[in-house]
Symmetry: C2
Subunit: 336 residues, 2 copies
């Protein structure tokens, strides 16, 4: 244990595309746990597109990160010192520990800090068995509700959430088409994740490919992207389609939200439903979701990728990988 | 009975705003009913914004009107001659009789032709007790599901459907704000239809007024308009809001569908739902809806306006009144 806590603080609210200079490197003393506190050494940090929204000072589902505060992020760590009866030195825990070497947990921060079950790889609670996988699980099953034989389309399909969402729909018996950027990701979707087909939005005419691959229309669309891809799918929804709005990464770095889809009125003609959700609302059912996902993973029915970068100094540029589509599956950073 | 059947035929598919010249006046012989046929003299014709969509040759929920065919429209009429055991001369009936003096019903056209119950004013089945009122009833109750104390916003609120939708929400105990064009319509909404407040989209800053009138956000939005008004409401939805897409008159006369709302991602942040519907899907429940609406009207709990123009020669320009916002409530044309 060193005596320096390296941190990335939020330096500025991004204007448009997030930049490395929106964060500031800082070295602080490692905090000393008081009575009831727990000191955690951060091992892995999780990167999610939604974190971009936490940097803006706009009304949202969670307060923005304050300027000068460590950048908020999900993470797993090891308890370095505990003065709390519920935690012992060496316990593996997960929580919103942020972009730093050490997190001091006390008061409200202790509640969400959950111990990682023995025998589970320490990165899984950040990916397939964490918020990422649970978002796919509840969004697809609760809102998308794919039925056997239906056609499901997933955007951001090679991403951490999209790849799980598509496979969940496959397990329900649906035909699944993924939309991803680049031939390599598309090949992975079909060969490894067993999607029925993939569309490369960088090289293909998305609308034409959707029409060819979904001749009876799209019954369920699980959207992580928004923008032109959402519009292309809305133009091709089937009767009583469900559009699950999980995210809209195409606009996260826009200064103003761009105009929405032209084909929205197709929701009327096709009696479609478009619905947004935040996975935190399913907190009471996380146990059910983790158990189901873990069983699928351990039985080999669900594949997942982890893209592990190394070194806290690389946190901002690791975050940027998400918006350049450089990540291969769940984006993580190994800190210790 | 004359021997001429005056008709307005669809002459051309409109390019942008519908024009009188998109229709063609035609005089045909009055048809002679054969065995099993019914001849109807049209009394009143109904005008609905959705008819604009029937003029386009695009995939929709109903086939387009063919070029050279009488313009399709809901209507009520009196049976002039019947060679069908189910109908007698003098019966009042409703159906899709179109813009003409006489309609010959046979085969598939006889199914939807329904007799109007004795004692009911003959225009009501086209307005408050017809597709118009039923659209408001099922859209608001089944999709909007307003609860007592919730805030409901209706666009096109002084229109035939919007005014009923808002009053249905009031009867459920909601606070109802209507958006309409012009001070006169807004005054009618508050004074006659007992809306809690009205916003004049022509004179007011809609966003600012919505913020002032809906400080806790909008729980249910019943939208007939789309465009900028939909966007302004989406920016102000409350947690778990329901957006009922009934129509989008602001774009019906656009050559291409315009860009959609910028604030669509608010559906994610607020876990909102946006859903389209077509009232025909509720056919099996029309009896329930008509009975409920009729009871409300007869008890004085539900007001409705009828805007009756006169003379078949005025059909195209009566239709145009809808898109200029000139109609006061349900737009009808008295033909005979």
């Amino acid at each position: 244990m060193t005596d320096v806590n390296r941190q990335w603080l939020l330096a500025a609210r991004p204007h448009g595309m997030v930049k490395e200079s929106d964060f500031r490197w800082h070295e602080a003393p490692v905090p000393t746990p008081g009575e009831g506190d727990v000191l955690v050494r951060v091992l892995y940090v999780s990167f999610d597109p939604a974190m971009r929204g936490w940097m803006d000072d706009r009304p949202s589902y969670i307060p923005p990160v304050g300027i000068g505060e460590p950048m908020r992020a999900g993470a797993v760590g090891r308890v370095e010192a505990s003065r709390h009866p519920g935690f012992a030195e060496g316990d593996l825990v997960q929580g919103l520990f942020g972009w730093q070497d050490y997190a001091l947990l006390n008061g409200a921060m202790l509640g969400p800090a959950a111990k990682i079950p023995a025998g589970m790889p320490p990165t899984w609670p950040l990916g397939v068995l964490g918020i990422t996988g649970l978002t796919a699980y509840f969004g697809m099953l609760d809102l998308g509700r794919p039925k056997a034989g239906e056609t499901v389309v997933v955007s951001g399909a090679a991403g951490a959430t999209g790849s799980i969402a598509g496979q969940i729909a496959k397990l329900e018996g649906a035909r699944v088409v993924g939309i991803a950027g680049g031939a390599e990701k598309c090949a992975w979707l079909v060969r490894e994740a067993h999607f029925d087909a993939a569309i490369d939005y960088r090289g293909d005419d998305v609308g034409a490919r959707l029409s060819a691959l979904c001749p009876k229309g799209v019954d369920v669309f699980f959207d992580n992207v928004g923008g032109a891809i959402l519009d292309a799918v809305l133009a091709r929804i089937a009767l009583r389609a469900r559009v699950v709005l999980c995210g809209g990464i195409s606009a996260y770095n826009e200064v103003e939200p761009p105009p929405g889809p032209r084909n929205l009125m197709n929701l009327v003609i096709q009696r479609g439903r478009m619905e947004g959700f935040i996975v935190i609302d399913y907190l009471a059912r996380f146990g059910e979701g983790v158990a189901a996902l873990r069983a699928h993973v351990e039985a080999g029915r669900l594949v997942h990728q982890e893209d592990v970068q190394v070194g806290l100094e690389n946190a901002p540029r690791t975050f940027l990988r998400l918006f350049r589509g450089e990540n291969r599956g769940k984006q993580l950073l190994q800190v210790a």
